[in-house]
């Protein structure tokens, strides 16, 4: 009998073990929901499966009576647009500033303390200020994402740029590169895959800020919907939305990981 630490489940075992907790969770839910519904058939807290199906059908496959739109898709498109815009802008700022401060000692001395300071400010605490500065339009929502995740990305990029072995920077110089060429041909291509991982890491926070922003000022979006129906405790809408958000988050993460592997084989191969 091998030690536990040396024992590996097989392929099938792995799948079975991985699915088990989900199945258990689902069963727990069903039991609890049944119990509550028995006590109060109008209970909104733990709706039966059939209510979910109805709600999903209503939101995703039937046009809304008031606007004629398919609510789930409208919300999804609105939220994803904001998310994409916010993350793209943050990533661009992070890339530029991170490379600049990570590569040029003078810029590092000037900006690092500021960025460290900013990264510690909790964005939720300055929400009111943000809304007043940026208004309540799309800009504010995107800005909240940007303010929330950019300091992290900048700091990560800076660190990654600093981690590039000094030998390679020296090498570039012996091959005749000037500072700008070192940035363009050495630092930039080498931090790109790291930017992707930084983005993946910060996507969780980005969703968080998006939902928080949509809760306060929006007329559509996944976060808006959840906060709107939260007032009526419509769990039959909230839970499918949560699952849907989780699924979207997973897909985005997975896609980025795959893309990185495909685009930067040298990065993943060398690790």
């Amino acid at each position: 009998m091998k030690k536990l630490i040396n024992r590996e489940p097989g392929r099938v075992g792995k799948w079975a073990l991985g699915l088990l907790p989900f199945v258990l969770l689902a069963i727990c839910y069903l039991v609890a929901s049944d119990a509550r519904l028995e006590a109060n058939p109008n209970d909104k807290l733990l709706p039966a499966m059939s209510s979910f199906v109805d709600a999903i059908d209503r939101m995703a496959f039937e046009p809304s009576k008031r606007t004629g739109e398919y609510q789930l898709w409208v919300d999804t498109v609105a939220s994803l647009k904001r998310l994409a815009l916010g993350v793209l802008i943050s990533a661009s700022i992070g890339l530029v500033f991170g490379i600049a401060t990570g590569t040029i000692p003078y810029l590092r001395a000037g900006f690092s303390p500021l960025i460290t300071g900013l990264s510690l400010v909790p964005p939720m605490a300055i929400l009111p200020v943000l809304f007043i500065i940026f208004g309540l339009g799309e800009l504010a929502k995107v800005m909240l994402i940007i303010i929330g995740i950019t300091p992290f990305i900048i700091r990560d990029m800076q660190q990654r740029a600093e981690e590039i072995p000094a030998e390679q920077v020296i090498k570039m110089q012996t091959l005749g590169a000037n500072t700008w060429q070192i940035v363009l041909r050495l630092v930039w291509p080498q931090v790109m895959p790291r930017l992707l991982s930084a983005v993946r890491l910060s996507l969780g926070s980005a969703w968080l800020f998006l939902i928080a922003a949509e809760a306060i000022a929006a007329t559509e979006g996944l976060g808006y919907r959840i906060f709107l129906v939260r007032r009526y405790l419509a769990m039959d809408t909230i839970l499918p939305y949560v699952v849907w958000i989780t699924f979207l988050a997973f897909i985005i993460d997975f896609t980025l990981a795959r893309y990185s592997r495909w685009r930067y084989p040298w990065f993943h191969g060398a690790q």
Binding site: K171, Q173, T174, R185
Partner: protein
């Protein structure tokens, strides 16, 4: 006039004296191999040649001028590791020097210029025996292939001075011998001035036209940083009778044990 002149060179890190009173003249085209105990300052000397470390006292002259205080095109280098750029294929690694000088802003070449660079790089890679691996990334190459690639990358720039810091330390003995041949070959073709650090005394004797031994003449075992290393032997190669070899080896070993 000697190409390189070292005049009473000292290097200290705070209290610790690493090198002291180095004096030497090196002519264009010499092949200087450097041996010495670990930690006695060989790499530090190479860094001063390269311009990434500055002397504490004394001077390091190239053609009578103080040598540039930062790395530039006159001096090529191959380190023991990290010597090629991991994000470029072998061919692109070798084309890099040409691309950088082709366009000051983009560091890229286009059209005919690019094709010329590619052909030149291909030829260079062939001469180091990497014609099968043009499109491979460094992580797909073995250690020996990476070092050959590093040599190709450095030599295509035709530096005046080539600095090698234990470039073959991580290689199999057989592969290492192939590399020796390659280096000697390129050295003769390009009339390089070479400084090469090695751990292997035999390699030092075999490759160089001149062998330097860095060692501490005075050694305080309680405080090894009190005195620095000097060039204790400066031998034109050919003069390698067995006695010298053994006495060098003995003195280097005892320093190594004290420093370890």
């Amino acid at each position: 006039m000697a190409a390189i002149e070292i005049k009473n060179l000292w290097k200290e890190y705070g209290d610790q004296v690493v090198l002291e009173r180095l004096n030497a003249k090196v002519e264009e085209g010499e092949f200087v191999t450097i041996v010495g105990a670990s930690g006695c300052g060989k790499t530090t000397f190479l860094k001063m040649m390269l311009g990434t470390e500055q002397a504490s006292r004394g001077q390091l002259l190239l053609d009578g001028e103080p040598i540039a205080a930062e790395p530039d095109e006159t001096r090529g280098i191959v380190f023991q590791r990290y010597s090629v750029l991991p994000h470029l294929s072998a061919l692109r690694n070798v084309m890099l020097a040409g691309e950088l000088s082709a366009n000051r802003w983009l560091g890229l070449a286009f059209g005919a210029r690019r094709r010329a660079l590619r052909d030149e790089a291909r030829e260079m890679l062939e001469s180091v025996g990497l014609s099968q691996a043009l499109d491979k990334y460094p992580h797909e190459l073995s250690g020996g292939m990476q070092q050959r690639l590093a040599l190709a990358q450095t030599l295509i720039k035709r530096p005046r001075i080539l600095l090698l810091d234990e470039p073959f330390g991580a290689l199999d003995p057989g592969i290492r011998r192939d590399m020796h041949k390659l280096v000697l070959d390129l050295w003769q073709k390009q009339n390089l001035t070479v400084f090469m650090i090695t751990h292997d005394l035999a390699e030092g004797f075999y490759l160089g036209t001149r062998l330097w031994v860095f060692d501490k003449e005075r050694l305080d075992p309680q405080d090894p940083g009190r005195y620095g290393a000097r060039v204790t032997y400066d031998l034109p190669v050919g003069n390698s009778d067995k006695g010298t070899l053994q006495s060098i080896s003995h003195s280097v070993d005892s320093t190594a044990r004290a420093l370890a």
